[in-house]
Amino acid sequence: MSSNAITVPGVQIDEKPWVDTLHEWVTTVDHKRLGVLYILYALLFLVIAGVEALIIRIQLMFPHNHFVSPEVFNRLFTLHGTTMVFFMGMPILFGFANYLVPLMIGARDMAFPRLNAFSFWLSALGGFLLYFSLVGANGLYGAGNAPDVGWWAYAPLTARAFSPGHSTDYWTLALLVSGFGSIGTAINIIATILCMRCPGMKLNRMPLLAWLNLVMAGMVLIAVSPLTAAQAMLLIDRYLGGHFFDTQAGGSAVLWMHFFWIFGHPEVYILIIPCFAFMSEIIPVFSRKPIFGYPVMVAATLCIGFVSMSVWAHHMFSVGMNSYANSFFTITTMAVGVPTGIKIFNWLGTMWGGRIQFKVPMLFCIAFLFQFLIAGLTGVMLGSAAFASQLTLSYFVVAHFHYTLVGGVVFAVFAAICYWYPKITGRMLNETLGKLHFWLFLIGFHLTFDLMHFPGLLGMPRRIYTYEPGRGWNTLNLLISIGGFIQAIAILLFVANLIISYFKGAKAGNDPWDAWTLEWATSSPPPAYNFASIPVVASRRPLWDLKHPEDPDSRYE
């Protein structure tokens, strides 16, 4: 923050030239600005990967459609999956962690501000590399080339025999580079939470958001490392004559699957746990009650973190593991359902007996609960190895994980944006546009992803660029595509709301939701130093104590 001297609230500063502002944002090490950069960067990729999804859905509207060629289709689903997981999902959640964790634990910045900036720009470079493959993979002559191996890139399809050119290398490098960024951010989150808490904030008084992000960051450290190792091995195979995954020289295709999914399954929990964190902050405020069963919520999160490390091979129930391995991964997968169920019940317990206010953030939270319940139950079906031998690799799986990632993560992210937008910008989002966005997105989501389960049950495999008529898939696919466009319109409304409210929204004030955690104790947007004096807390809800001196939480904890 060298160029941005400490400002005093209320003092008018002269307009700066835009180049100065740009320079400040590019060179910033402020956790709030980096958080916003992460979020904007992720929203950009949400739109890009969303357009890719729409093209995919146009192609699949009718059997034997010729909207795009099979080559282009395969690139599109590879880019869509890779982008949404690595350049939309992770960055937007890291963005919120960056922005909120220091504020909520009463700190002035992350533990390592420069590492924070470095990690963000590494992640940004990763996303750039992935899309640079469109022109760089085979030079300008091959413009339009891009990775086409799927987001999990199974060997030996990635071997040079089957993936000539450089498109697969760009995919590998993009993940390798952004993986380093993720590890840097994870270390930073852990160090911040363990070392930077304000006086009085013991571990058992931290907001659940901080707890859950601590678990998430720990999982990133464990899960991203095998992926990085596997990418290095793949590069060795492709350029240094290695044979780890080269089946034509005795390598193992199954080895790649294990490496990938030992990352890939914890990864979905890395994406969903910060969303659980949003739920755990937003639902209490709009139910006007503290979170139900705080210690149990922490324990359940740790439990999910541990158990989710031993479930990866449920992605491999068709690979031909023996019956004991299949049984083992069945029990571990179903076991994850127990702590996850506990979380859903605790959110219900929080709402029970409360006074629920149906503001836009809460609407997204309620939809999240409903959809995550269904996603969890289809997850149990997929966890049953025998049932999964029919369901896996079919559109049922596609429906299931979009239910978790759209119905879960995207809804939770919308809830978080609507909830913290006033803090970040100082302006309220327009409530009417927000409700319109919510209902339209909800309708589009359910039209698309409820129906998407059924082609899977009727034998439609995933990743096919076209399909045969006469399989009972035609009408379903048409409706699924229409739902996709309804969601796209809702997203446009959302973006419009973000922009309009930034300029025209009502002033938010410090604490528009009458909330209880520390970020609402400072101004909106918070000054660079967050708090004029470091707060001292005596309970999990410091602002409740402040607002209700006659009945503070500290009396009961």
Partner: protein
Amino acid sequence: MQALRSTNSFARGPLAVLLSVIWQASAVVGATSPALSPTNIFAPESTPAKSIAHLSVFVLIITGIIFVVVFTLLVYSLIKFRGRAVDAGREPAQVFGSTQIELAWTIIPILIVVVLFLATARVIHAIQDAPQPPSAIEVTAIGHQYWWEFRYPKLGIVTANEMHIPVSDPENPTPTFLTLLSADTDHSFWIPELAGKTDLIPNHPNRMWMDPHRIGIFLGQCAQYCGVQHAKMLLRVSVDSPEDFAAWVRSQQQPAVQDASVETGRRVFESTACINCHAVAGTNANGRFGPDLTHLMSRATIASGAAPNTPEKLRLWIQDPNKIKPGSLMPAMQLSGTDLDAVVSYMETLR
């Protein structure tokens, strides 16, 4: 076959009564489903697919009950505890938790998980660890980009894309046991009405089995992304009566027909690159990269199900495969019109 038989009825153990009731109910769904789709996992016609469908209905019912209970609680609390104008400014009772309730909603899900696990483990064991009876038909399925090779080692048959197997009478079973291999990338063998899917992975031989109970054509396709034309790597399984199957085996065991009237076509075929990839038994064409053509005319489709096996489609396929299946590994052969006609006529004699 005792092991196979017991999975068929799925009729031992504490869940038996419940499951049989469920199965009766789902039979209604199953009876209407063939019209719904030829690839419906809830219209099983063989033991592995049936025991999976039984289990699936059981899992669906348990998860359905959980859904109804939690959903009701959610809707009830949203209505009952909605904020009212009367309450404005007053906070509700601040409740922090309850150990008894937490224990209840921990232990009940654990019990449900145990039940679902036991039901699943039983089916996994019954399907995966079923012994191969001596009466079984053995087939080696080899996945290629983007077609299927079927070898019957005991019968000396090599064919492609359309697998013939005999119907299996539960009283006197003749199941088919497949060995699954891959020549290039990963593939997955999936006929939803006959069995769950199993991958074909290079350097990693897999096995699966099926004992179809009904005569007919069963459809499916490659389920593991294998490259550009993954979508048109279709599968057909013809389940024949024992007599039809025996007749099919006899005809497939014959060498290729040598018809003097298509001598020109045969010469063109044997003097171009066709023979680098394709085999015709009894001639000097012995390539293994593409499908074996010895009995091409006994098949209903070409290009792994992408087109019907008619002279016009066959001609188009040889002339420009990309018209039918863009990205397929068969090259356009650049034959002159007369050579093309001659080769197609030759193919037409390979019965």
